[in-house]
């Protein structure tokens, strides 16, 4: 034991120094971090307008984990409602779609979801759908609904995402969407896509999270070759919509995120 004492002291000293330095880094970042989340968004004057389309955000139950920090990270309401409202402003401006200025929160508990044939699920790597919700989502998608998932990263979140998705479609494969698929052509030609980082990557010298180094564009097709599920993995389009008005968020990422979102909506409304 005696002979290990210097090593133990060195480790404790190293840990103390690292902790102090890490705390200083977090403090510096908190002071300079330009993306402050706020749910206090003003309600637009035309919020009650009856429109053809509304940004329908899916509310889902979370995956329970022993890792408290990880568990706290993801939820259905991430970026809500600013991302939704800011994105639809772009949809209004860039397409002919008649869009409501405010989002619509839907869940898989009631049949209300069938009134919104396009839904968006953020942080889908944290969802944990019940069997009944899986069944409803399957029915929704087979009838003609479309789900776009976003802002989940790395293999662990992918696996959790697929645990529910496999119960939605046990008999269907999640496949890579080829570039020639109409979803990448319907409004904008999106052959050359790249990873869209979240604000956690600020100042964007790195664009991936966890081990999700490469952006992946996957989906599940129905029997007629139409996409029902569009899984945008290893990217954070929601953050790009939310912070498109921020000078600190690079325009090239925001632009791509808008184009992808518009393509996914118009695809869902035409296929």
């Amino acid at each position: 034991m005696r002979k290990f004492r210097p090593l133990i002291i060195a480790l404790l000293l190293g840990l103390t120094v690292w902790t102090a330095l890490y705390a200083q880094r977090r403090m510096r970042r908190g002071m300079d971090f330009p993306f402050q989340e706020s749910e206090d968004q003003p309600t637009p004057n035309d919020a009650d307008e009856k429109t053809e389309f509304a940004f329908a955000r899916l509310k889902y139950p979370n995956w329970k984990s022993n890792d408290r920090m990880w568990s706290m990270r993801g939820s259905w309401s991430i970026d809500y409602p600013k991302a939704d409202r800011q994105f639809v402003q772009g949809v209004r401006r860039l397409s002919r779609l008649h869009v409501r200025s405010v989002e619509q929160v839907v869940d898989l508990e009631s049949d209300e979801i069938f009134n919104w044939p396009w839904i968006y699920a953020v942080e889908a790597g944290h969802w944990d759908l019940t069997d009944a919700q899986c069944k409803k989502l399957r029915e929704y998608l087979l009838k003609g609904g479309f789900i776009m998932t976003d802002d989940f990263h790395g293999s662990m979140e992918w696996d959790i995402f697929m645990l529910s998705m496999k119960r939605v479609f046990p008999d269907r494969e999640m496949v890579d969407i080829p570039n020639k698929d109409p979803i990448f052509q319907v409004v904008y030609d999106l052959d050359k896509r790249f990873q869209v980082p979240g604000i956690v990557n600020y100042p964007f010298d790195q664009t991936y999270e966890y081990d999700g180094v490469k952006d992946t564009w996957r989906g599940i097709y129905d029997d007629k070759g139409r996409l029902m599920v569009g899984a945008c993995h290893n990217m954070d389009l929601g953050d790009a919509w939310e912070w498109a008005d921020s000078p600190q968020y690079p325009e090239r990422y925001a632009s791509l995120a808008y184009r992808i979102g518009i393509n996914y909506i118009i695809y869902a409304m035409s296929h």
Binding site: K50, T51, E52, F53, L94, S95, R96, L97, H98, D111, F114, N115, P117, E139, Y140, L142, K143, G144, G145, V186, V187, K224, I265, I266, A268, M269, S270, H271
Partner: protein, 749 residues
């Protein structure tokens, strides 16, 4: 009784003319009668002048009448009438030898009853007075020695042809009269006017003897079956079955529609009252392309006397074409997606869509080539006329150029295409259609109010016309169909389409909370085509808000698209007057040919290429109809019964204009089983219009005598004395007896 009183048959009085055989003027008789009446009056009124004037008048009337009759007898009245010279005239007896004469009633067939009539005295009676010729009446009229060769097996009885043949023979034969012994069922179309006119001009009396029950005791008889002559593959087709029954009122029967023994659809019905026409509508799927022989049958019930009239065959030409429908949508809408999905499942419809996704982008789907519709909505006739139907979604009126508006009008009017307008926030009244020439095409007057589109819920109910329309059928059973419509989820939105134009028909109404009932689905015919408004863009909820297996939405749009393009003609349209020719060999052929602009083409060469049973193949060149430009006519004799296929092929200057295929079926003998009740009306009409008489078999004893009085053939004119007819003496006795009775009563004897 008539002859007992009047001595001669009624015909003598009917056909003869009154003559006075002494040759004295009738005025002398009048003068003598007046004089005698005056003398009698003077005697009576001078004697009975004290309050008995009325009685005197009665007696004067009786006596004067009697004197007038006695004086008339002095003038020797008689009936002058033409009579056939004995044994110098021919009486033609037409014996019905068709299958219906083999029907058994009360233990014997009609043929046997007919023979019984002939052998029971009619043949001998005729033979005593005339030369008698017997003819068997079937598909042709054949001379026969007597009635022993009758078989009641002829597939058809051509009464009209038979009478026409006899009329023709009469030019060289002294035919005095015709006797038709039949059940009256001329299954080849009845006696035509020309034959009737010939008979009347030759003064042939046609005497008819009717066989068979005038009313069947127990029978279900199909009267008619109507199906569309052509349809697109997988179309839902309606078949209208008309029938009547006797003896089974209130009982259940099954109507079965089948093809080659395979049941396509069936329905149990409750039979209506005896003799009441009953109409039932059934639906079936047209299935794959090709000619389809459909048999419609009402199930035979126990005790039915004639089971041969329970089924009819119809032919439906199921087209292999896949009409193209162009759908332009002004903005992304859920309706667009779900219409596309519904029609993608329809293998008979080829949907091409244009979606205005952004201000400057149009997304094309279903196009044949990368350059097709590159410029958006068609601006040339060739581009637009390549489609058979057009759907206009939420597109404002001023999006279309004047040229495009004119093309749309020609597309419907001349091309014969279908045009459907959907509701939306920038279409119909809200899209400025009220002030646009496009309003001309709408089945409604949209008005110019701009707040007609509402994103509020509305349920749907079929109107009376909608309940009857095959295109509004989500369920085969009409009652269930109405209920199914009522149970559909509410629409996501609705639009006040406007006021109906004359000729427009509302098939469905939207039931709204604030606006009440609004016309939702309105159709009309326009020129050679048709237009419609579906004043909503919210039927997609029928897909999303119903169970996954529910097909209401798909069926609705597939039916609607068939309404849109099902009747859109090609450049060559082959037409048949009907699809089944029963006992008719001459088949009329007709084709309508148009050029690329769909204007009538008069200088085309049109051939009908016919193939039929047993390798029958023929080519008939059709000739232009001088009256109707673009119409070509021809005829062809189909000898063998069976199904035939006719391809009309049109060329011009060596280039193909187009082709179209139709089918027809030839049948022999089937129709004999129909109208199996005695057609007394036809027989009576024939005899009445020719100066003959309708006879029941047990009355024919007097027929030979009555035939004598005919003006046809070799006749002589004779005068029948009237002075000795019993009625005269009876009248005289009555007059005298009455006077005597009155005188006794009044005490003046």
């Amino acid at each position: 009784m008539f002859e007992l009183l009047f001595k001669y048959p009624y015909t003598v009085y009917q056909k003869g003319s009154l003559v006075l055989q002494t040759g004295w003027s009738v005025w002398w008789w009048v003068a003598a009668t007046v004089l005698a009446a005056a003398v009698v009056g003077w005697l009576l009124f001078t004697k009975w002048n004290n309050g008995k004037r009325a009685k005197a008048i009665v007696l004067w009337t009786l006596q004067s009448t009697m004197i007038a009759i006695v004086l008339l007898l002095l003038w020797q009245p008689g009936m002058s009438i033409a009579t056939l010279k004995p044994q110098q005239n021919i009486v033609a007896v037409l014996l019905d030898d068709s299958k219906s004469m083999g029907l058994a009633e009360d233990g014997s067939t009609r043929r046997e009853e007919m023979i019984k009539t002939l052998e029971g005295g009619l043949a001998d009676g005729l033979k005593k007075k005339f030369q008698v010729r017997y003819y068997k009446m079937g598909a042709r009229l054949e001379r026969t020695a007597d009635w022993k060769g009758l078989t009641a097996q002829a597939p058809v009885s051509r009464l009209s042809d038979g009478l026409a043949q006899i009329a023709a023979e009469s030019a060289s034969l002294p035919i005095g009269a015709l006797i038709v012994m039949s059940d009256g069922g001329d299954t080849a179309g009845g006696v035509d006017r020309q034959t009737l006119a010939t008979l009347r001009s030759r003064r042939f009396p046609v005497h008819t003897i009717g066989y068979g029950r005038e009313r069947a005791e127990k029978d279900i008889a199909l009267m008619d079956v109507q199906t569309p002559a052509r349809a697109l593959a997988d179309s839902r087709l309606g078949v209208t079955v008309s029938f009547q029954q006797r003896g089974f009122a209130g009982q259940k029967a099954k109507i079965v529609v089948s093809e080659n023994g395979k049941t396509l659809t069936a329905r149990d019905v409750t039979l209506a009252a005896d003799g009441a026409p009953q109409v039932e509508n059934l639906l079936f799927n047209a299935g794959n392309a090709g000619p389809k022989t459909v048999q419609v049958a009402v199930q035979t019930l126990n005790g039915e006397t004639n089971t041969g009239n329970n089924a009819l065959t119809r032919l439906v030409q199921v087209d292999s074409r896949k009409p193209r429908v162009l759908y332009i949508e002004g903005e992304p809408r859920w309706e667009f997606k779900f219409i596309r999905r519904a029609l993608e499942e329809d293998r008979s419809i080829n949907l091409v869509t244009l979606l205005r996704t952004t201000q400057n982008k149009i997304y094309r789907q279903g196009i044949n080539t990368p350059t097709e519709l590159e410029g958006g909505f068609p601006s040339t006739l060739d581009e637009l006329f390549a489609f058979e139907g057009v759907i206009i979604g939420n597109v404002e009126a001023n999006y279309f150029t004047p040229t495009q508006v004119e093309l749309l009008q020609q597309f419907v009017d001349r091309r014969g295409g279908g045009l459907l307008f959907l509701g939306g926030r920038t279409t119909l009244a809200d899209g400025g259609y009220g002030a646009s020439p496009l309003a001309e095409l709408l089945p409604v007057n949209p008005g110019e109010r701009r707040t007609t589109f509402q994103r509020d819920r509305a349920t749907v109910e079929l109107t009376t016309a909608g309940r009857e329309s095959i295109y509004a059928r989500l369920e085969e059973d009409p009652t269930k169909n109405v209920e199914r419509w009522k149970k559909l989820p509410y629409l996501a939105d609705f639009q006040a389409a406007g006021t109906l134009k004359p000729g427009a028909v509302v098939l469905a109404e939207a039931i709204t909370e604030k606006k009440g009932r609004l016309p939702l689905w309105i159709i009309q015919n326009y020129g050679r085509g048709r237009t419609a408004v579906l004043a909503t863009s919210g039927t997609w909820r029928w897909q999303m808000s119903q169970p996954l297996e529910d097909k209401s939405h798909e069926v609705f749009w597939q039916q609607l698209s068939r309404w849109l393009v099902g009747a859109t003609p090609g450049r060559v349209v082959a037409a048949m007057t009907r699809t089944v020719f029963s006992d008719e060999r001459t088949i009329p052929l007709r084709a309508e040919v148009r050029n690329k602009q769909y204007l009538p083409l008069t200088d085309a060469k049109v051939e009908a290429r016919i193939s039929g049973p047993g390798g029958v193949a023929a080519t008939v060149e059709l000739q232009p109809d001088p009256v109707s430009p673009g119409v070509f006519l021809g005829e062809w004799g189909a000898e063998k019964p069976g199904s035939y296929l006719v391809e009309m092929y049109a060329t011009r200057a060596g280039e193909e204009v187009g082709r179209d295929t139709v089918s027809f079926r030839r049948e022999d003998g089937v129709s004999e089983a129909f109208h199996s009740e005695q057609d007394k009306e036809t027989l009576e009409r024939l005899s009445t219009q020719t100066g003959g008489r309708y006879w029941k078999p047990d009355e024919v004893k007097k027929l030979p005598e009555e035939i004598t009085y005919s003006e046809a053939g070799i006749t002589t004119r004779e005068v029948k004395d009237l002075w000795n007819i019993p009625i005269v003496f009876l009248v005289l006795a009555l007059l005298r007896g009455s006077e005597w009775m009155l005188r006794r009563k009044w005490g003046a004897v």
